[in-house]
């Protein structure tokens, strides 16, 4: 293949960086603060990514590595580089597509904001960081971009930092992520210590050669996955994501669909082949628990963005769970489909908030279907996709994941049946809370007439991305068979690789080889499909019964199950629990160390100062009295003798002669 094409990913990586620098330094001089440049560049980038994908489909995987730095001669030298394989090629498109549409959508949404220029430059930085993370073939460089993603998310979540809530949310996101990153970093160090390399290919070769095995391999896998727990908002570090809704809504779309949270799933998919059986068990259960917890929370939330936030966490749990049960490609597939319809959902939410003049509470909405038809139909399409209704992309990916969990439970038996049970439960809950959201927002009677009367459909800059994204939630873009994704281009391209540890057994997990697994998947496919359709239909039906036809009085029902309702409404009291335990503990330690600092360290310093002061006083006294006394004494003696001897110095020659004569006489008698 043409050699210059090798540099194309580098160009794709640097275009958002260029956009960031250009807007950051020259944005104020440019017309419209340079937003059209950022939007255009991102669409060019999207076109280039599609081109890279086609090139990849023609020529296959290739990578590009340069020496980065070394630690002196003879020591390990570090490389930097990127790789284009099925994972990164697909992620390139997803990241660039969502980012480009978010850029376009923001033109109207952020119009008139005082920090308009800053907003677009941050978007560029965020896209750059995420692209770097996706492209790199080196885990150390990945960590660098990983932190860059963290920083840029911090900047964007706290974009409206004049208000206290976004400040807190940004700090929370950053700090909670940092907890996961510590694990990630330790994992990297374990790998570097045992294998001496950061390059993914070399790492996998080392694991395959058995240089890192047993407990250490499990520990390394779980620790690396800790980074994903933080970034992809998995239980128990999911608490930052709902708060991150304080950022501008298009940013939420970007974070939740394509950039930040996808990073964790992407990392887990990258290291999938080296995860040991026990590490995979851990991954599976974390994913399933996350999916379940956040789905139960989403049911009772009243803020339109909060519902979507918890639904994101829940879907991320699905992806992680899919990777855990050994269906890495399904997890990535769900990441891709989810990216489009979730971005669509967030942008429609942004459109609703824009139309309702910054009302986010769904209890004040209703009947918006007539006022905002485009928003309504795009939202409906994305909701159907999220609920896994046939003919949508979500159906394809979700169904595959559920089938994979069934196959997984079939292999391992016993306690692992809890995974598909949780999976189907979550599918039902998802259908319920999404249609609750849809009915309360768009159907029924308007609750707040004043806002409703002023509400209008959003301008075309906002509706075009919505329409495009909702169309991309249609099955045909991913597979021509609406009931199975297996023949679709994504699944043809992205096969789950054979794990390096095939045949090993963990405590409850048995990694089987791909053929056997695929065989089981085929058997599980139809049961999973009917089951998921059943629970989704049940969920939708319940939502209509509760909120549309109002056959059941929801208020009296919540009154009856008050404790459970409150438990869900208060998000399982996670924030309260963390406040009472970890945060209180940290604060206690801080107070203790502050006390030690103030009393003991400062006391020691002050004591030393006091002792020094005493010593210097004493030495001052010694100086004044003894040393100066001696000096004064000698001076005084000299003065005294001077006083005595000046008497002889009369200035009269006769006196001197007299002394002379006496002197001679004395000498005469002395030396006679």
């Amino acid at each position: 293949m043409d050699n210059t094409l090798h540099y194309l990913p580098l160009v794709i990586l640097l275009i958002p960086m260029f956009s960031f620098l250009l807007l950051a330094f020259f944005g104020n001089q440019l017309p419209r603060k340079g937003d059209f440049i950022a939007v255009t560049l991102l669409f060019i980038n999207l076109a280039l990514s599609l081109f890279v994908m086609f090139v990849f489909a023609q020529t296959g995987k290739y990578s590009f590595t340069v020496d980065w730095f070394d630690l002196g001669k003879g020591n390990t030298s570090f490389t930097a580089g990127f790789v284009i394989d099925e994972l990164s090629a697909i992620m390139l498109i997803v990241v660039n597509a969502i980012s480009a549409f978010v850029h376009l959508f923001s033109v109207k949404y952020m119009e008139g904001d005082a920090k308009y220029k800053k907003y677009y430059s941050y978007l560029g930085l965020f896209t750059f960081s995420m692209l770097g993370l996706v492209l790199t073939n080196n885990i150390l460089l990945m960590y660098v971009f990983w932190e860059l993603v963290g920083v840029s998310s911090y900047l964007l979540i706290g974009f409206w930092y004049e208000k206290p809530a976004p400040q807190e949310a940004a700090k929370k996101a950053f700090i909670v992520n940092r907890i996961g990153d510590v694990g990630f970093f330790i994992g990297i160090m374990i790998i570097f210590l045992t294998l001496g390399t950061f390059n993914f290919t070399d790492i996998f070769a080392g694991v395959a050669a058995g240089q890192l095995q047993g407990g250490m391999l499990t520990a390394a896998g779980i620790l690396l996955f800790c980074g994903a727990i933080g970034k992809s908002a998995q239980f128990p570090l999911h608490v930052w994501l709902p708060d991150a809704m304080e950022g501008p809504t298009p940013v939420s779309a970007l974070i939740h669909a394509a950039t930040m949270v996808a990073a964790g799933v992407y990392l887990t998919a990258r290291i999938f082949v080296m995860l040991s059986a026990d590490a995979l068990t851990f991954v599976t259960f974390i994913g399933a628990i996350t999916a379940f917890i956040s789905a139960t929370i989403a049911i009772t939330q009243n803020d339109i963005k909060k519902v979507l936030a918890y639904s994101t966490i829940s879907q991320l749990g699905y992806m992680i769970m899919a990777i855990g049960v050994g269906a890495m490609s399904f997890g990535m597939f769900h990441l891709v489909t989810h990216a489009f319809f979730k971005a669509c959902l967030f942008l429609t939410a942004g459109s609703v908030i824009y139309g309702m003049h910054h009302i986010q509470d769904i209890r004040e909405m209703g009947g918006l279907r007539k006022k905002m038809p485009v928003t309504y139909y795009t939202f409906l399409m994305a909701t159907l996709a999220l609920c896994g209704i046939p003919l949508t992309s979500g159906f394809l990916s979700k169904d595959s994941i559920l089938a994979a969990t069934l196959a997984f439970a079939h292999i391992n038996g016993g306690i692992t049946y809890i995974i598909p049970v949780l999976g189907f439960l979550v599918a039902g809950l998802t259908a319920f809370y999404m249609f609750r959201l849809l009915i309360l927002t768009f159907l029924g009677e308007p609750k707040n007439m004043e806002k409703y009367d002023h509400c209008r459909e959003s301008p075309f800059q906002m509706t075009i991305p919505l329409i495009v994204l909702s169309v991309l939630s249609f099955f045909a873009f991913f597979s021509f068979n609406p009931f199975s994704a297996d023949s679709g281009w994504i699944m043809q391209m992205m096969k789950t690789p054979e794990s390096l540890l095939t045949g090993t057994r963990g405590i409850i997990y048995h990694i089987v080889d791909r053929e056997e697994y695929t065989e089981l998947l085929h058997h599980a496919h139809y049961p999973a499909m009917f089951l998921s359709l059943g629970v989704a239909g049940l969920g939708i039906l319940t939502a209509f019964v509760f909120y549309f036809w109002k056959k059941v009085n929801v208020d009296s029902l919540t009154e009856k199950i008050k404790p459970i309702y409150n438990f869900s409404l208060n998000k399982w009291y996670f924030d309260e629990f963390y406040s009472a335990t970890f945060i209180a503990f940290t604060m206690g330690i801080s107070r203790l160390s502050a006390w030690i600092d103030n009393k003991i360290v400062d006391g020691a310093v002050n004591g030393a100062a006091t002792v020094t002061s005493w010593t210097s006083t004493a030495s001052g006294k010694f100086d004044n009295i003894v040393v100066d006394g001696l000096v004064n004494l000698s001076g005084g003696l000299v003065g005294f003798f001077g006083l005595v001897f000046r008497k002889f110095q009369t200035g009269k020659i006769q006196t001197y002669i007299l002394f002379l004569v006496f002197g001679i006489i004395v000498l005469y008698f002395l030396f006679r």
Partner: protein
């Protein structure tokens, strides 16, 4: 009684003592000068005496003559100084001519 060297020396010593005493005790500048003359003459007596009794020929007398000439010139200069002293201070008392002391 034969008059010997000793007698001259005794005379000379007495004369020297008187001269010295005058030099030390007198306040009048002219009297001090006279003391000096006495001392010089005491020395002259010694020189002459040694010249006579010492068998060294005429050398002693020669030196004496030099000394006398010296004394004359000294007296001339010294008296001129005293005259100026008197003009300046209206006194010849050396203790009162002490403006350089303070």
């Amino acid at each position: 009684m034969e008059i010997g060297l000793q007698h001259y020396l005794i005379i000379s010593a007495i004369l020297f003592g008187i001269g010295l005493f005058a030099l030390i005790s007198r306040k009048n500048a002219i009297l001090i000068l006279m003391g000096i003359e006495l001392i010089l003459n005491a020395a002259n007596i010694n020189l002459v005496a040694f010249s006579h009794f010492g068998g060294i020929g005429i050398d002693g007398q020669m030196i004496t003559i030099f000394v006398i000439i010296l004394a004359v010139s000294e007296a001339a200069i010294a008296l001129a100084i005293v005259l100026n002293l008197y003009n300046h201070f209206s006194t010849v008392n050396v203790d009162e001519a002490n403006t350089m002391k303070d």
